[in-house]
């Protein structure tokens, strides 16, 4: 895997406040790296350093094998695209005009868009599912629609490296899945993606690797199953999440600790263990009711969770996962499969 973007021991501080401490990671062609962590852990800052918007105080950033500082601005923009978290969009411009701005790196200061630019922009809008919004003003769109426009613009740049800061924020589930599916497909075709995720499950389902950031440090990096352990997550997020396995694929699914309402309609008291809501059988055999763990002390419950046997909790996980490429371990699921757990 050819490394396209690499950060080596990068540190950064805003004035006196250290935000990133000694972070190293790299993303290669056709690889999808997810960046997760609580708010304030430095994810956005890391992304901005990776995009060349911030200069690290220590360590180095390399893009396509060259130090970031040596890569010219326009040159960089032709190969690396950034989708920011709260991108300001001037409300009176149309979607088409905004997406076309993605072709700026190829146009120079005085150039005009030519046919291939128009084609690239249009195709990007189709991929991002906002083609039908082309003539609408950006100021009139909903949050999710604006997000799709930003995605389209990033795609119009036709980058080799794509940096995304919470690409699915404001989107409803349909578009979340569609967008991430699209990204994953592009990764299959060779795109290198580093994306900040708020939703751990999306990261788990789609990323080859995830990096867990806490207070500016990289706590863990590796495959989702390696990184999303109860120990890591409870330490970083300070909450006991319920970690189980996705019913259809063998990737971790991270769920809230439990439901507050008992099945009989009464509120569960503090410290009371959650009750199973019903019987569910999964062909993958990964999830099953466990009666022993319904009582007992905290350590018991934790142990049983770690063993992959957990409570049946009320939460939503992505319908199926898709991790492309033979590089991923742990099984590959197909679209729409019944989740028999078998590889391709």
């Amino acid at each position: 895997m050819e490394s396209l973007l690499s950060l080596e021991r990068v540190s950064f501080r805003y004035g006196e406040l250290p935000v990133l401490k000694d972070v190293s990671l790299e993303v290669g062609s056709g690889s999808f790296l997810g960046l997760v962590g609580p708010n304030g852990s430095g994810k956005t800052t890391l992304l901005r350093v990776a995009a060349g918007l911030l200069k690290p105080d220590a360590g180095r950033v390399q893009l396509f094998g060259q130090p970031m500082a040596k890569v010219g601005r326009a040159q960089m923009a032709r190969r690396l695209a950034l989708l920011p978290q709260n991108g300001n969009l001037p409300p009176a411009f149309t979607v088409w005009e905004v997406v076309l701005m993605g072709r700026t790196p190829f146009l120079g200061y005085f150039g005009r868009e030519n046919a291939s630019d128009l084609v690239a922009a249009e195709r990007a809008m189709e991929q991002a599912r906002c083609r039908h919004l082309a003539d609408r003003r950006v100021g009139e769109l909903s949050g999710g629609e604006r997000q799709r426009v930003l995605v389209a613009r990033a795609l119009a740049q036709q980058p080799e490296v794509l940096l995304l800061d919470e690409p699915t924020s404001h989107m409803d589930v349909e578009h979340q899945v569609a967008t991430i599916d699209l990204i994953a497909e592009l990764v299959d075709q060779g795109l290198a993606v580093l994306a900040v995720f708020h939703d751990l499950n999306l990261a788990a389902c789609y990323c080859h690797r995830v990096a867990l950031l806490s207070q500016g440090r990289l706590v863990a990096i590796g495959q989702p199953a390696e990184v999303f352990t109860a120990e890591n997550l409870s330490r970083v997020f300070k909450v006991e999440m319920c970690i189980t396995t996705h019913p259809r694929d063998s990737v971790p699914a991270v769920l809230p600790p439990g439901s507050r309402w008992r099945g009989d309609g009464e509120t569960r008291g503090r410290g009371e263990p959650p009750l199973p809501l019903g019987e569910h059988e999964y062909a993958s055999g990964q999830l099953h009711r466990s009666e022993d763990a319904s009582s007992g002390s905290e350590p018991d419950r934790r142990r049983s969770r770690e063993g992959g046997e957990g409570k049946i909790c009320s939460a939503a996980a992505p319908p199926h996962c898709r991790r492309a490429g033979v590089k991923a371990e742990g099984g590959i699921a197909r679209h729409g499969s019944a989740g028999d757990g078998s590889g391709r």
């Binding site: 690396l80 001037p90 003539d135």
Partner: protein
């Protein structure tokens, strides 16, 4: 990834704003300017009929050889007084409108006007200094007041820019704050000069009020290069100016050298404004309103916004100046009064028609 590209041939491109509207708008703007200029040449305290006016102009340009049936004084009035007035009105109107549009875009603030970064205050200070200082008469006949105003306006902008630098960049918020601060300082110094030189109060006030009453061809020729260059440069950067409407981070990640573009745009807009103020004093309202009118009518794309603002602004100011001359009696009323009177209600009307965001 770049190799995989399906060429979508059959589907029509997004229409954007209709092409027919696109061509029409330049025609309308140019026609408005031509009409305004014609009105400007016809209207004045000295009555002249259109035929004679055209004949005078053509014969002056050596395009027509006739025995003049008009008095020499009329020809002087038309050629030396009225026509420079029209020309300067067009130049200043274009300059202020383009500068206003540029600042509104750069600062992403619809309330920005050309005087935001302390340019007007700087010009006022320079002019006041030139009037207060005991300079030899030869300098005054060369137009030292105008040069001093122009120079100190540019100095003020340079000061504002250097004050606003934070690290390697110039955030627009600090630019605005520095502009306000420098403007306040310049105004204070001007007030002090006026206090210390009470005998010159009348002439200083008269300069500040501005207007086109004593415009000469020479003044217009001095102002024209700055204005035309600035309008040209900003127009050429229209597409980049669009991208600058996104925030700095987005523009940078699209490959734009944000600081350089910002500097060029600010310098160009300031050049145009400084030239205008040094020649015509402080004429308000044009730089604020005309860009909005153009945006409401024809959209926010800077590639068209800038040239159209120049044309519409020129037409507007020439018309306003003509309107100022329609007032009965031998006096001139300040053109700024006319621009405010005409422009404000029209702008309000347009805003009410337009429910959607125009910025």
């Amino acid at each position: 990834m770049r190799g995989v590209m399906e060429v979508v041939v059959a589907r029509p491109r997004p229409a954007g704003r209709s092409a027919r509207l696109r061509l029409g708008r330049y025609t309308v703007a140019v026609a408005a300017l031509l009409l305004a200029c014609m009105v400007g040449v016809m209207v004045g305290k000295a009555p002249v009929d259109p035929g004679t006016a055209v004949a005078i102009l053509l014969s002056r340009l050596h395009l027509l050889q006739v025995v003049p049936w008009w008095p020499a004084s009329l020809e002087t009035i038309l050629w030396e007084i009225r026509l420079p007035r029209v020309a300067m009105g067009a130049l200043v109107g274009a300059a202020l409108s383009v500068a206003g549009a540029t600042y509104q875009g750069l600062f992403r603030n619809p309330l920005a006007d050309p005087y935001l970064v302390g340019v007007a205050a700087g010009a006022g200070l320079g002019a006041t200094l030139a009037m207060a200082a005991p300079l030899p008469a030869s300098l005054y006949s060369l137009g030292i007041i105008q040069f001093a105003a122009f120079g100190s306006a540019l100095l003020a902008m340079a000061l504002v820019y250097s004050l606003a630098r934070v690290g390697g960049s110039t955030p627009i918020t600090t630019l605005v704050l520095a502009g306000v601060a420098v403007g306040a300082l310049a105004n204070a110094m001007t007030s002090f000069l006026m206090y210390a030189h009470g005998d010159k109060l009348a002439v200083i006030y008269s300069w500040m009020l501005g207007g086109f009453n004593v415009t000469t061809w020479r003044q217009a020729a001095l102002v024209a290069p700055s204005v035309l260059i600035a309008v040209l440069v900003i127009s050429l950067l229209g597409r980049v100016a669009n991208v600058m409407q996104l925030d700095d981070d987005q523009a940078r990640s699209l490959g734009v050298n944000v600081e350089l573009v910002k500097l060029v745009l600010v310098v160009a807009a300031t050049l145009a404004t400084a030239a205008s103020v040094s020649a015509a004093g402080l004429i308000g309202f044009v730089g604020l309103v005309v860009p909005h009118v153009v945006r409401i009518l024809w959209g926010p794309d800077h590639r068209s916004l800038i040239p159209l603002s120049a044309l519409v602004g020129a037409a507007f100011l020439v018309s306003a100046d003509a309107g100022a001359r329609l007032v009965p009696g031998p006096q001139d009323i300040p053109v700024g009064v006319v621009t405010a009177f005409c422009g404000a209600p029209f702008f309000l009307y347009l805003l009410r028609q337009q429910k959607r965001s125009v910025f």
